[in-house]
Symmetry: C2
């Protein structure tokens, strides 16, 4: 191809992918709107629109036009710049993954999942698993069908894992979780046997909504979340909504008697949002204008929530400002008290309330169940029983209700199978990244003295700016000098909790 023809083709390819990106942004806006504001009576109508829009984006991803673009551009691979090469890679993945799935089924499926949220919400509120089961069954059936259309090597679940973390497989994850389990389970036993008792009762003291909002503002300012290109709103289940680097929104949920809930959800979502907001301008509003994988994304939210937010240095830094807001009711407490209380480790029923030590065990429960569900070897009506079994196995506790058990998470209603492992991967990536960061930066010193911009600059330079330019494995290799390695995470947990619980 001569250079002028190639240039034209690249230009057309960019416009073509921009169309996909615009529809995806519209879908993200619908998700945002439904979560924070939309009238309930419009749920079914919006579900229909979202199904149609998803089908529209899907059709563009698997069209003959896309195939022709890919074949032509792949033949000119060496002449392409990094951005176009990355776009080609991403589009090829999507094309190969989905071109065998009928667009009509994607539309039906998207409409189903757009409606399923409300069904799940009601079932959870009424502790009525049977009310959600038929919907869940349909979603699982679609997932299995899609995986069959797409084809896979090894386990059927691999197709879904790969969607969220390119290159991830059941084989790799089994090994990963085995290593985590080998450290976490005995460590948790030692913690439970420790004589060190942490007082966390004060976390239930009432903190007014107004004060909690002030705390959110303090946190957003400290970490440098740009409110000119973002906003904080309230909803039931906190999340980050990304419409490109220039519009990245987060939500939180305030609980009067658990102010740390919003505190950590804001830090968590800010971690996601900072990733999105700090991509380089060159990829703004393109299909590269998004995080590279769910695992890497989660590493950034976990980094802000845990590595920073649950460190003693951060508590020392924020203590004065926080007490000013919290007022006299909390004056009896020291920074150390907050640090300890925010890290109390104990088996619990609810994933999003879990401490850093037990968190990955909650993920393992879901991972094991998804593996079985996707294999087709489980009646969804058996889920509550299996959930109890796995919770007992990994955490030693059993739910007192389905609402606090199998119905607790929104993800399955959204069709996010294969997503949960990202949380555990994110924890591990974050620890590995922290290890690398320490070579360049005095991490504790920076956090303690409020120099978070130094840390943010490092993350932006090494990770955030690239958006989806690199693959996750290339990125982690470039940042840390090696592939994903669970040892940094287990070591991090061992160090932290041994010190905290004086285990030798």
């Amino acid at each position: 191809m001569n250079s002028e023809r190639l240039e034209n083709m690249v230009k057309e390819f960019k416009i073509y992918t921009d169309r996909i990106n615009a529809i995806q942004s519209a879908l993200n806006l619908f998700v945002w709107d439904m979560s924070v504001d939309a009238p309930k009576g419009g749920t079914a109508s919006r579900a229909k629109y979202m199904g149609l829009l998803a089908a529209e984006a899907f059709a563009l991803r698997v069209s003959d036009e896309m195939r022709d673009f890919l074949e032509a551009l792949e033949a000119e691979r060496d002449s392409l710049d990094d951005a176009v090469r990355a776009m080609t890679r991403i589009c090829r993945r999507q094309y190969d993954a989905y071109q065998k799935v009928p667009v009509e089924e994607i539309r039906e499926y998207s409409e189903l999942t757009a409606k399923a949220g409300a069904v799940w919400e009601k079932a959870k509120a009424e502790n009525d698993f049977a009310g959600f089961a038929p919907t869940l069954e349909q979603i699982v059936r679609y997932q299995i069908k899609f995986a069959e259309y797409r084809g896979y090597e090894g386990h059927r679940y691999n197709t879904l894992l790969d969607d969220y973390e390119p290159g991830m497989t059941v084989e790799k994850l089994d090994r990963f979780f085995d290593r985590l389990k080998a450290v976490i389970v005995p460590l948790l036993k030692s913690v439970q046997a420790s004589e060190k008792k942490i007082n966390a009762d004060f976390l239930q003291r009432s903190v007014s909504l107004e004060k909690q909002k002030q705390i959110s503002e303090l946190l957003m300012e400290k970490v440098g979340y740009d409110l000119n290109r973002g906003m904080l709103r309230e909803n039931e289940h906190p999340f980050t909504d990304n419409m490109g680097k220039n519009d990245v929104r987060i939500t939180t949920h305030y609980h009067e008697n658990a102010f740390l809930s919003a505190f950590y959800s804001v830090l968590h979502e800010c971690g996601h949002a900072l990733y999105e907001q700090n991509k380089m301008d060159a990829i703004a509003d393109t299909i590269l204008d998004t995080g590279v994988s769910m695992g890497i994304h989660e590493s950034q939210s976990r980094f802000y929530e845990n590595m920073i937010g649950r460190s003693e240095a951060f508590w020392e830094n924020i203590y004065d400002d926080l007490i000013k807001i919290l007022g006299a009711d909390f004056k009896d407490l020291s920074a150390r008290d907050f640090y300890e209380a925010s890290n109390i480790a104990r088996p619990s029923l609810i994933r999003i309330e879990a401490d850093e030590l037990t968190y990955s065990l909650h993920i393992m429960v879901r991972y094991e169940i998804e593996k079985i569900l996707l294999s087709g070897g489980l009646d969804v009506y058996d889920l509550p029983r299996l959930w109890s079994e796995k919770m007992r196995e990994y955490l030693g506790v059993e739910p007192d209700s389905d609402a606090r058990g199998v119905l607790q998470d929104v993800h399955w209603s959204e069709g996010y199978f294969g997503y949960f492992p990202s949380y555990a991967l994110g924890n591990a990536y974050a620890a590995q990244i922290l290890h690398a960061m320490r070579k360049d930066i005095d991490f504790e010193g920076s956090v303690r003295s409020g120099r978070l911009p130094v840390i943010q600059k490092w993350l932006a330079e090494k990770i955030h700016q690239y958006g989806s330019l690199k693959t996750p494995s290339q990125l982690i290799q470039d940042v840390t000098g090696e592939e994903l390695n669970a040892d940094y995470y287990t070591l991090y947990l061992k160090n932290k909790f041994s010190l905290l619980y004086t285990i030798h």
Copy 2:
């Protein structure tokens, strides 16, 4: 075509038009989001997405696939049901109108108008017409270009008039406005010469935001706006956003020292919203799930704002509830005082603050200017001068600044040329509809006794339920037994203002 083939084609055609409708709904959601909530830093990105989405919907409207659908279905016209026939009619109009316009220019134009709102807002805030002029010039240039692509009979402006009010032409509108002018101008002179003086000073008394919100709730409840399928939010320029009958949202703007401003904007937008919410279920979420024309739409908002909201009967009905909210500060006033103050007639600079009598004169100013702009015979930089001239001619007043003159309306920044006449047409349709309604219903009695549901039911049955099933002229013919007739409106004005100002 055999009936099975026809049935399949109709099914495919419906899905095809549903795709257009879904993209249009996404665009409406972007508009809503930008108006009430979106972060400023994302304006350019969202403009890009909206441009791409508009191009997407446009491409579907003028595709060869659409042409084939239309040709095949039009040949089977007599076998189609009302809904499909209406869909075919609408799609044919759009196809014929736009298939000659290059999609790339639609994308550029949509991006331009999505950005122009912020430019206009800034220019208005800074009273800087020159800051808006280059953008306006570009928009006008596109409008002229598009009209040229499309072709037209008579005046170039006809193409745009027809977009908002199918069948409307400069010739018809000139006649329409001449008839209005012939009555309104002398009537206004009589009003100004009348010895009757109305006191409206009390309308500037301070009413807290909280109380004004209570008033909004009272009004929404009275007229029957369904908040399960809608919501009220605040923004700078009140509007109704329609994503099908099940999601119809309105905005208002509160002014502490002019509580009637929000009062009437809520009634106005509720009129639009009731139209949208009361369409028949059979057309929900289709391209028919929207009002039939801007003029008819405006007739419904005007009906609620003016025919109901500015009637003495309504003031008598709402007086007790209102005084309960307004409190002691307003206890010196009677229902009659509110009625008179809300109808005070006098030439003014700002259209949206204009009284019922002078309102259409403001529209004439804009109509005359758009006609000249579209003919290509006017440099946009001459607009402020021409604005002053026309204001003096029609209303006898001249703006003291561009912000309160040519920059006052958002419409041109949105590319809405040909839209303004809808307001005057709406007034006229509303009076004609009221005349027809009186044959079935004791209008004043129903309003006075709070039996608004009786009125709403009549409107729903005669107008709202049909959405876009009928043409505007067919609709007004069915409802009133004749074509648009300006006499009902001029008679309505004469009766109302002669009584109010004791003119004989």
